[in-house]
């Protein structure tokens, strides 16, 4: 319950405060969100599997976001930013799908 409340608080805070993001950081926000989604779905799945661990979740979240942004940053510097973004989105997207399917099996037993 608390994590869901936290998520809601974060969304409301972000929409209400409308903080300005530095321009150099803006291109990496979408990919960071996808990485964060992956970590969150992984955490929910682990919770249903009964092996959730707060430390692992926090570390995986932070490292996921940072590494995804870094990969895209590196790609931008090398001139393959768009392709690397696609690669990151594909891999993370597959994982999100897999986790979502596992969560669905837990929830609906189907």
């Amino acid at each position: 319950m608390i994590p869901i409340l936290g998520l809601a608080v974060g969304v409301v805070l972000g929409l209400l405060l409308d903080p300005s993001v530095p321009v150099w950081l803006q291109p990496y926000l979408p990919i960071a969100v996808v990485a964060a989604l992956d970590a969150v779905f992984g955490g929910i799945r682990a919770r249903f599997d009964g092996i959730f661990d707060a430390k692992v979740f926090v570390v995986s979240f932070v490292s996921n976001v940072v590494v995804a942004a870094l990969i895209v940053f590196l790609g931008d510097q090398l001139g393959v930013g768009a392709q690397l973004s696609t690669a990151v989105v594909v891999v993370l997207g597959i994982r999100i799908f897999g986790n979502a399917a596992a969560i669905r099996r837990h929830l609906f037993r189907a």
């Binding site: 974060g10 969304v11 993001v21 430390k55 926090v58």
Partner: protein, 310 residues
Amino acid sequence: MTATQQPSRTRSLGASLLDQVLAETVDPAYARAAEVRAARPAPTRGARWRGQALVAVTMVLAGLLAALTYDQASAGSEGRQQIRAALIADIDRESGVTDDLVASLADLQAQVGAARDQALSASTGGQLALDQLARQEAGAATEPVRGPGLTVTLGNALPSADDDPVAGRTPADTEVAQVLDRDLQLLVNALWSAGAEAISVGGQRLGPTTTIRQAGGAVLVDLRPVTSPYEVLAVGDPDSLQNRFLGTPEANYLANLQVTYDWVFTFGRSDDLELPGASSTELRSARPVTPEDAPAPGTPTPSVPGDGGD
């Protein structure tokens, strides 16, 4: 190695990578942490609370990140639209200012003309100068003209129903098929040679120094943009104008282009055309007219550089 693992070794690297991605959707670190936890005594109440708080803070971060990204994405498109609207408003406003200035320029020129006529009509020398001035103004096309003539319309190909509006024509196609400044120049020159007395293109009267030029995708007549279809009005005797225009090689050339590129190319006689005056050229030098100084008819007033002001 067991027999069941044998096939996986022959699979390509890419396929095994995909297999791994597909199989390992949950972070293996969770399983390892669970093993470690099982080996140790149960965590204290305080440690559990700390963990929950950490998770909550991380979720706040996740929500913040998502909201920020959403904001950014929506602000991006909104901002572009706002900038576009602001630029369009700027253009409209400045065009309005230009129109106002053109109108007041015409007013002031009329006042200057009236004052000049009044001042000159008093003396004989002035009368002569006035006659000469009238002839030269007619030559410079600064006075509005009204009369019968020919209306020629030249325009880009109209989009037909068969065209896919997105990908139907390649950019090269559309570029080739556009009416260019030189086509309009050809048309105008053909009309002059056919005996036109006054010509306007897209509402812009052509004077002796008026240019028809291309700037980017737009055709500029007298530095003002005109758009397709270009309506060319020529004042002159309609019968001879039409006959002689049709006899020119340029008309033939344009008719060919019309067939090739589906251009709009029509012409018709008009009984009453009204052409505005061309923008007058800048006054560069002037000097007072004295009776003994009055120029003989036909000879242009010698201009003395630096003698007068603008």
